[in-house]
């Protein structure tokens, strides 16, 4: 059987480990002179995106489900964590109301809506981070996969799903802070979010979550179930005739993927300091697909790499020419689909393979 940690996974995890040790030390031990504090949170954000990309690669790369709505699962995870962080503010808000978040006081609500109950508890919120996206994915997948909605049609309804959620979350009456979203967080589990130590801690947690996500994804895709997912991707009808209930397999991987995206969102919110309906925007979900395609679809590590590279490029590019970022991203996507079908990871691996083993033509010339 295929090993859990193959070469590419080993190299990536080793690199991630070095980063996980070096970044916090570089920040904390040198009072931000070697690694500035904002870089710590920025890198943490990149790793959240990487985990989100791995989640999408599970469904798209391995099972052929092109979800254009994964941003919704990410955002829901982010909101679930954001709700807890709002509760942790307590009476330190602008209105100093110990029972209600500021935006509810502003709307003249006199009590906490029922769906905010329990979010005072960190562990309850952490559970919701996975359960809410998981439940939505289950419901959505249950109907879509049983009615055998596939291909472009499925992509379109996932896109519609995230758009509908965005519109819903924009409404103040929904009770999630309307278009401002949730923000002004003070601390998490008692640790102040503005402190460097907390930021470093969140960064380390994100790196661990990414490593765990990669390993879980790898364990699933190297199992017999993982091979069946690839069968479904390549010849869905044929797989049915072998006795596999395709709907069940799709539903399983879709729910696992949504939960992973939820975790990524939950780690994103405290590091960025805000979660708002913009995270549900259809364009966000499309961008995730670009990360995965660019990094290398169906490789897990490539997806993570793609997310980090694009996020890095976006940070640099928006600093230089902010208006052109979307054009650059679109151009990059077209170039990769035309010239790098296996993505950046494929390019790197092919380059190394060629260096190790001289091309046949070269050998002939020598002989």
């Amino acid at each position: 059987m295929t090993s859990l940690i193959d070469r590419r996974m080993g190299i990536f995890l080793a690199g991630l480990f070095v980063l996980t040790v070096a970044v916090p030390i570089g920040n904390l031990a040198f009072e931000g002179k070697v690694v500035p504090s904002y870089i710590v949170s920025l890198l943490g954000k990149y790793l959240c995106y990487a985990l989100l990309a791995v989640a999408l690669d599970l469904v798209w790369g391995f099972c052929g489900i092109l979800s254009l709505g994964h941003g919704a699962f990410f955002a829901l995870g982010g909101y679930a964590m954001g709700m807890h962080l709002m509760r942790e503010i307590g009476d330190r808000g602008v209105y100093a109301n110990p029972d209600l978040p500021d935006f509810m006081v502003f709307l003249s609500w006199d009590q906490l809506p029922w769906f905010w109950m329990g979010f005072d508890n960190f562990w309850f919120a952490s559970l919701m981070v996975m359960l809410v996206p998981g439940a939505l994915a289950f419901l959505f997948g249950w109907f879509a996969f049983r009615s055998r909605v596939t291909g472009v049609y499925l992509s379109i309804i996932t896109q519609a799903m995230t758009y509908a959620l965005q519109l819903a979350f924009f409404r103040n009456e929904m009770g999630f802070g309307g278009n401002n979203g949730l923000t002004d967080f003070k601390d998490v589990l008692g640790f102040p979010l503005q402190s460097d130590a907390t930021r470093a801690g969140l960064f380390v947690c994100t790196a661990i979550a990414l490593a765990a996500g990669l390993l879980i994804a790898r364990a699933i895709t190297t199992s017999k179930l993982g091979m069946i997912l690839v069968c479904i991707r390549d010849a869905e009808s044929r797989t049915r005739f072998m006795g596999y209930r395709v709907e069940g397999y799709k539903l399983f991987i879709f729910v696992v993927s949504a939960m992973m995206a939820g975790v990524a969102g939950a780690l994103y919110t405290p590091q960025v300091g805000i979660i708002n309906p913009g995270e549900f925007s259809p364009a966000n979900s499309i961008e995730i697909v670009i990360w995965v395609a660019l990094g290398g679809r169906g490789t897990l590590v490539g997806a993570a790499l793609g997310a980090i590279l694009v996020a890095l490029a976006k940070t640099l590019f928006t600093g230089w020419f902010p208006e052109f970022w979307l054009f650059a991203l679109g151009g990059l996507f077209i170039l990769v689909t035309l010239f790098l079908p296996k993505g950046v990871l494929g390019l790197i691996e092919d380059t190394f393979a060629r260096k190790k083993k001289p091309a046949p033509a070269l050998q002939e010339a020598k002989a």
Binding site: S237, R238, R240, F241
Partner: protein, 245 residues
């Protein structure tokens, strides 16, 4: 002998065209049956109906005289013990030859069972046995995409046998095979009869002769005649619609 599969007055039309028209067919347990008929006679559609891919507009399809196959989906029919080889060979191209067989092996098909599955020694032995039978032992680690058309046919036969089905539906297995391979396929299918029930659709008359079994002639979705190959080929109607051309 008991009737294993029964089609009872089955009809199905596509956009007004009756692809299957009042088709009745009974196949006994352990029987080897050849189904012949010109292109478009409805042979593949008949298999689609038996395996739950296509629902009939009217008529009944019965398994072991008790199970109503018109209420069962593709995976359900496979789980009952109906295995199918497709006219156009469909193997899983990115998986290795060996993995194609391993995934077809008779085993628990649930999500959890496959998630935690570990290959047993018995399974490994069975895979090797099947690979030897279809003469792909030397190619076991190659991606199935690398195989020739004929080899893919064999791999699909191996996958079908791996499922260990009670009923085998084999759609034009000899297409793309050499004469020697065609004869070997016929021999293999004959050896399976008795233990399994086998329905073979084929165009190649030498192949059907080699099968040496009862033949059903299908025409415009309806059974034209049935009997030994010599009997049906003497039928003037058959000569007109099919053999005479």
């Amino acid at each position: 002998m008991s009737v294993h599969l029964l089609l009872d007055g089955v009809s199905r039309s596509f956009d007004g065209y009756k692809a299957i028209n009042d088709l009745s067919l009974a196949v006994d347990k352990g029987e080897l049956r050849a189904v012949i008929g010109p292109n478009g006679a409805g042979k593949t559609t008949m298999m689609d109906i038996i395996t739950g891919k296509t629902r009939p507009d009217s008529g009944g399809v019965w398994w072991n005289q008790t199970v109503d196959l018109t209420r069962i989906d593709e995976a359900g029919s496979a789980r009952l013990g109906i295995g199918r080889k497709f006219q156009k060979p469909t193997v899983f191209e990115t998986h290795s030859v060996e993995e194609n067989i391993a995934l077809s092996l008779k085993a628990e098909r649930s999500v959890l069972a496959t998630l935690f599955h570990r290959q047993t020694a018995a399974e490994a032995a069975r895979i090797t046995e099947l690979l030897e039978l279809v003469r792909l032992e030397g190619d076991r680690h190659r991606p199935a995409a690398d195989l020739s058309h004929g080899q893919k046919q064999w791999l699909e036969i191996g996958m079908l046998l791996a499922q260990d089905p009670e009923l085998l539906l084999v759609d034009e297995p000899a297409a793309g095979m050499t004469d020697a391979e065609t004869m070997r396929t016929a021999e293999l299918l004959r050896s399976l009869a008795g233990k399994h029930t086998v329905i073979v659709v084929e165009h190649d008359m030498d192949f059907v002769r080699a099968l040496d079994c009862r033949v059903t002639v299908l025409h415009q979705g309806h059974v034209l005649t049935e009997g030994s190959l010599d009997h049906v080929s003497a039928n003037p109607e058959v000569i007109e619609v099919y053999l005479g051309r």
